[in-house]
């Protein structure tokens, strides 16, 4: 027995999707999304999404990387096993700058990469692929069946009015 999971509209042009996203956003659904083959500019404000918080993750981890590099080098060169290299000070700080930079970049970069995917629940070995055309040349508007007061016929009509090429149901086998 398959269960209705949501309704989606298929659009041909990104501008149509932005228009549709604007209208859908006004309805304050809990569960809805847009699917595009490439990042469409203007879709974030249309969906009412704010600017990504990702830079703060990068900054935090870059600072952790910086601290790691300073701690590593100062501890090793100054305290754990101080050695005299050509009469330089044990803690020759300018010499530590390159590795401070490298580790900041390394930690910041890796956290950015993992931040993007982990925050989206990826890697996901069994993703729900609603329509295979959304990674090719079509733009999708999805409204989930788990929204409060979900009325399939009303939503189909709504998406049709927004100018969708096709309005389809997504069903999955219930466990």
């Amino acid at each position: 027995m398959s269960e209705l999971r949501g309704i989606y509209g298929v659009f041909r042009h990104p501008d149509d999707l932005i228009h549709a996203a604007n209208k859908t956003n006004e309805r304050n659904y809990e569960s809805w999304d847009c699917f595009t083959p490439y990042p469409v500019h203007g879709l974030d404000p249309a969906m009412g999404l704010s600017r990504s918080w990702l830079p703060w993750v990068t900054l935090t981890f870059a600072m952790i990387g910086l601290t790691t590099a300073v701690t590593l080098q100062v501890t090793i060169m100054g305290f754990n096993w101080p050695m005299n290299f050509g009469g330089r000070p044990f803690i020759a700080f300018p010499d530590f700058v390159p590795i401070m930079f490298e580790l900041s970049v390394l930690f910041g970069g890796l956290s950015t990469f993992f931040g993007v995917f982990l925050s989206q629940g990826l890697p996901n070995l069994k993703p729900t692929i609603i329509d295979k055309r959304f990674t090719d040349d079509r733009f999708g508007l999805w409204i989930g069946a788990d929204n409060d007061g979900f009325d399939a016929d009303e939503i189909k009509e709504f998406i049709q009015e927004l100018g969708a090429d096709e309005v389809l149901e997504h069903r999955e086998d219930s466990e």
Binding site: R12, H13, P14, D15, D16, H19, D33, F35, T36, P37, Y38, P39, V40, L43, D44, L49, S52, L54, P55, T58, L72, Q73, I76, M77, N80, W81, F85, A92, F96, P98, I99, F101, E102, L103, V105, L106, G108, G109, L110, T112, F113, G115, V116, F117, S119, Q120, L122, P123, N124, L125, K126, P127, I129, I130, K132, F134, T135, D136, D137, G163
Partner: protein, 480 residues
């Protein structure tokens, strides 16, 4: 009014101007009015068909080179020892460091294209960044082999890392060689993740086209379950921006630190403050040379001429011309510094470079790097495939010899004539050098067959959706 259309020049659009007059438009980045679906088809097609004959022949040669590379390393260095190579007193840094610096330099163009041109909003980057960054990763993989071979006992290479050990020893953090370990490994890691970041949506595209279940499974794993949700794109875009911002100073730092390996020593010809910018520009120059060497056959074999257009190649040639002149300027500045410093040793080493034992290497370097790219002042030459292919090969040769000249001339004849010697490359050294190209091309050729060689999502994002034939006509909502 009939205007003669010269390929690559702006296109005249009558009555498209803001006041109804004529307007000159740039040629679009994707030619021949491709639709989004055709872009997907064209880029994915090579992945979904059997390899062509040129690919098989090229791959055969690459495998042969990789086999030479591997056997020289295994039988020569690992089983027999460093004596198989030409390095000896006084030239302790021979073929290994020449090749290491050469390959690291090759990598720099990929990061430059994907990161610096991203920050500068150069949209033509989208057609070539995927392959240029693949080149970066394979070049760094090739470069990384050389220091490991050069230490002689490659199985102890992990001693270079700082980890608590029973010998109570740490690396010396005052040494640029230790900085290099951190710089190169960070560079390799960030390049791979940046590259993979862009690949994830494209792998999802390949997954959704796949028919064979195994292919679906493999690309499904690689795509991490990407669905194209805009809630994910929102973070993905900002992450690309951040990683570009991180990779830009990173790429500058890497070759700066490589140049510190030389510049912080007291050897004449190496001890110069000009080294960091000189090395970075040289790296970008050589990397763009290699980019052309790879892209010219690739775009024709994989039929990507509509995506990697003549305009892309012309832009690359302009970078080659600019950086070639900066490199030539750096060569001349070195002579000025030697003369103006009044240092006896510096003066000798530069006279010796140009007119001494290794004069031939010096003039190969100077002519290939400073003179040959001057041909790109002419538009006809910038847009001629045979010319640019030959120039790109000469640039590779010239930049290999640049590292050869820097290392060999300074070490063979330094302060005391009693300490002088010659450096002759042994057959094993030649095997290592030529083999490294086979190793590198082997990876690149495999990449051409299994990865989307053009960033599908990024090309679509700079492509006007109304350009594609058929989309505009079926656009139901009109303009809003």
């Amino acid at each position: 009014m009939a205007v003669e259309q010269v390929y690559g020049t702006p296109v005249l659009n009558e009555k498209k101007g803001p006041l109804g007059g004529p307007r000159w438009d740039r040629e679009p980045l994707v030619l021949n009015g491709r639709t989004f679906h055709q872009i997907t088809e064209d880029v994915c097609a090579p992945l979904e068909r059997m390899p062509s004959l040129p690919w098989i022949i090229a791959f055969g040669f690459a495998l042969l080179g990789a086999a030479i590379f591997g056997s020289v390393i295994v039988s020569g260095t690992l089983f027999t020892g460093m004596g198989m190579h030409g390095v000896n007193h006084p030239t302790g840094w021979g073929v290994h460091i020449v090749n290491f610096v050469f390959w690291i330099g090759i990598g720099h163009a990929g990061t430059l294209i994907s990161a610096v041109l991203f920050l500068f909003r150069q949209k033509w980057r989208t057609g070539v960044n995927r392959s240029a960054e693949a080149m970066t990763i394979f070049a760094v993989m090739t470069a990384g082999v050389f220091p490991a071979v050069h230490v002689g006992r490659a199985w102890f290479v992990y001693w270079m890392l700082p980890y608590p050990n029973h010998r109570y020893l740490w690396p010396n953090f005052n040494s640029p060689l230790v900085w290099d370990i951190f710089a190169i490994s960070t560079y390799a890691t960030i390049s791979i993740f940046f590259w993979y970041m862009g690949l994830v949506p494209d792998f999802a595209t390949v997954r959704d086209r796949a028919i064979h279940p195994l292919r679906k499974k493999i690309y499904g794993l690689l795509s991490l379950g990407w669905t194209g949700s805009n809630r994910a794109w929102r973070h993905w875009e900002i992450a690309c921006l951040i990683l570009s911002g991180l990779a830009t100073p990173l790429v500058l730092s890497v070759h700066t630190i490589v140049s510190f390996d030389f510049a912080t020593s007291i050897v004449p010809g190496w001890h110069a403050t000009i080294f960091p910018p000189y090395f970075v520009v040289g790296a970008i120059f050589s990397g763009f040379g290699m980019t052309l060497t790879l892209l010219i056959p690739m775009r024709s074999w994989l039929k990507l001429e509509d995506y990697i257009t003549m305009n892309h190649l012309e832009a690359t040639n302009k970078v080659l011309l600019t950086t070639g002149m900066i490199v030539g300027f750096a060569y001349s500045t070195e002579f000025f510094m030697a003369a103006y410093s009044g240092s006896h040793w510096e003066g000798f080493i530069f006279r010796n470079r140009a007119f001494g034992t290794y004069w031939w290497a010096y003039w190969i370097m100077f002519s290939c790097n400073a003179f040959v790219p001057q041909i790109f002042w002419f538009k006809k030459m910038r847009r001629s495939i045979p010319v640019m292919f030959v120039v790109s090969l000469l640039v590779n040769v010239g930049m290999w010899f640049e590292r050869y000249v820097i290392i060999v001339t300074s070490l063979t004849q330094d302060f005391l004539p009693q300490n002088w010697g010659l450096y002759v490359m042994s057959p094993f050294d030649w095997g290592l050098t030529i083999g490294s190209f086979g190793w590198f091309f082997m990876f690149f050729l495999l990449y051409c067959r299994t990865f989307p060689t053009v960033a599908i999502a990024e090309v679509k994002s700079v492509h006007n959706p109304d350009d594609g034939a058929g989309v505009a006509a079926q656009h139901p909502q009109g303009a809003h």
